[in-house]
């Protein structure tokens, strides 16, 4: 909404307009006048710029680095998405084909064409003119609708992919958080497993008593023999309990987690054996690494 503002009135209201302190219609009226006025235009620009300097007078405040980084991430994601859309529009502008999709429609002339009418019988015919106009209108409407549908499908697919990606990242972060909790909790006890082998593999076992969570972090494990795998055992006075099988990475690293409730004083040892692929109910191979459990209070 704007109202007509005279030159004298506009000149008087310039400072308030520069502060955006006028009512919306007055503001629009003054700006509209200043836009075409050789006197008020530059004067308004000068006042605005001078008043904008007040921003620098705001006391500097502590800004959380995480907050700034979060905004930056969101901003850049939006910019990249904006660019990808722009790229699509450019391709479309250059080729006439909607970006990221193949036009279901042949060129308009192919639809309208077919056997070209002879000029003698159709040229100048109002019937032909109206027919072409109607056909073009229908084709245009269908094309617009189809384009909207394609855009919607494309955005929907992109959104689904992004949501899946976000979920995947969340899962990764959750898994990492769980791992950190498992090895750093207040009720976590640790045992170091050692070996006399040449390569000297070693490992730490983190036992989260509160969560009944077992986390083995091993390094320098040799690759198991063909058809073999490593199996982790919790040894108690009555049983050797399998805590799962695993294969180390090429660099010998392995991280294994298992959940098993065990009384705090019943663990005697931790061991890793080499067993047939798929694991066995009871250990059959030699210990690759092992540790005697710390007794309660130790």
């Amino acid at each position: 909404v704007s109202r007509d503002v005279s030159h004298s009135e506009a000149a008087e209201l310039l400072p308030e307009a520069a502060l955006d302190a006028l009512s919306p219609d007055d503001q629009a009226g003054v700006v509209a006048h200043a836009t075409g006025c050789p006197d008020c235009g530059p004067a308004l620009i000068a006042l605005r710029d001078a008043l904008a300097q007040l921003a620098f007078a705001a006391p500097p405040v502590t800004v959380d680095a995480v907050s700034r980084a979060r905004v930056r991430t969101r901003l850049m994601a939006r910019a990249r998405a904006d660019l990808s859309v722009a790229d699509g529009s450019q391709v479309e502008a250059e080729t006439g084909v909607p970006a990221a999709s193949v036009s279901p429609w042949p060129p308009a002339r192919a639809i309208v064409g077919g056997a070209p009418p002879t000029r003698r019988s159709w040229a100048g015919s109002p019937v032909l003119g109206w027919g072409l106009a109607i056909a073009a209108g229908i084709i245009g409407a269908i094309a617009v609708q189809r384009r909207a549908t394609l855009d919607g499908e494309r955005f929907s697919a992109e959104r689904t992919a992004l949501l899946a990606r976000v979920q995947s990242l969340r899962d990764s972060v959750d898994a990492r958080d769980a791992f950190v909790r498992a090895v750093t909790g207040k009720q976590v006890s640790t045992m170091q497993l050692t070996s006399s082998a040449v390569r000297a593999p070693w490992a730490w076992m983190f036992w989260d008593h509160a969560a009944n969570r077992w986390t083995l972090v091993a390094r320098d494990l040799p690759a198991p023999a063909a058809g073999k795998t490593y199996q982790l055992w919790l040894v108690t006075p009555r049983a050797k309990i399998s805590a799962g099988t695993f294969n180390p990475q090429p660099n010998g690293a392995a991280e294994v987690q298992a959940t098993y409730a065990l009384a705090a004083d019943s663990l005697r040892a931790i061991a890793v054996t080499e067993e047939p692929a798929g694991g066995v109910p009871q250990p059959t191979g030699a210990f690759v690494i092992a540790a005697i459990a710390n007794r309660p209070g130790q």
Partner: protein, 213 residues
């Protein structure tokens, strides 16, 4: 015959800025679709922008939204930036202030919040001074802060008050009149005189700065 509009020797570039050309180059690259330029501009200016926005909206979450929207608007409107109308930093801060005031007014409408004037003496929004990431921006912001503070000190207290209420709280003239208990005409006069005096002071300081080595 048209009444004369006072003319001044004021130029929008009130403070010499060694980083100004860099900023303009960044905006030019942004208008060409270079998102790395947007990242650089954000890294250079996000602290001053955050400071202003936090000072205005006084809420961390709202401030994040406003800052993001301000830089997003700069990205989308980079091709419309006119260097003859002011420096990039001023342009950015103006966008940020406008968005922040939009947020404030929207919040007032939704929650019927009372008008809470913000002044330059009010430090509730923050406190400790932090350095900007970019030394040139830090130096520039510091220089400008000094100059603007000096200019504001030349204003009579009542003129400074209306200016701060209008700029930092986004109050209309009527709202300022209600707030201060002054007649509307008086508020308008004070605003006009304050704005004009500030402009003239800044022009003077600029000319002094240019004259110095």
């Amino acid at each position: 015959m048209n009444p004369p509009v006072p003319t001044h020797s004021y130029s929008p570039r009130t403070v010499s800025s060694p980083s100004g050309s860099d900023d303009r180059e960044l905006v030019a690259r942004m208008s060409a679709g270079d998102d790395a330029a947007l990242a650089q501009l954000y890294d250079r200016w996000s602290r001053p922008v955050f400071s202003l926005v936090l000072h205005l909206v006084r809420d961390g979450d709202d401030a994040e939204d406003v800052v993001e929207e301000a830089f997003w608007q700069a990205w989308r409107q980079a091709s419309r930036y006119d260097g003859s109308r002011g420096e990039v930093g001023t342009w950015l801060l103006t966008i940020a202030r406008t968005r922040a005031l939009d947020r404030l007014r929207s919040r007032r409408r939704l929650r019927e919040e009372p008008l809470t004037p913000v002044t330059l003496d009010d430090s509730a929004a923050g406190g400790a001074t932090t350095a900007a990431d970019d030394p040139s921006v830090r130096a520039e912001a510091s220089e400008r802060r000094t100059i603007v503070a000096k200019a504001l000190q030349t204003l009579p207290r009542e003129q400074r008050e209306v200016l701060e209420l209008a700029y930092f709280s986004g109050l209309s003239q009527t709202e300022i009149a209600d707030r201060t208990g002054q007649p509307l005409g008086t508020v308008k006069t004070r605003t006009r005189l304050a704005a004009q005096k500030l402009r003239d002071c800044l022009a003077t300081y600029r000319n002094d700065g240019e004259g110095s080595p």
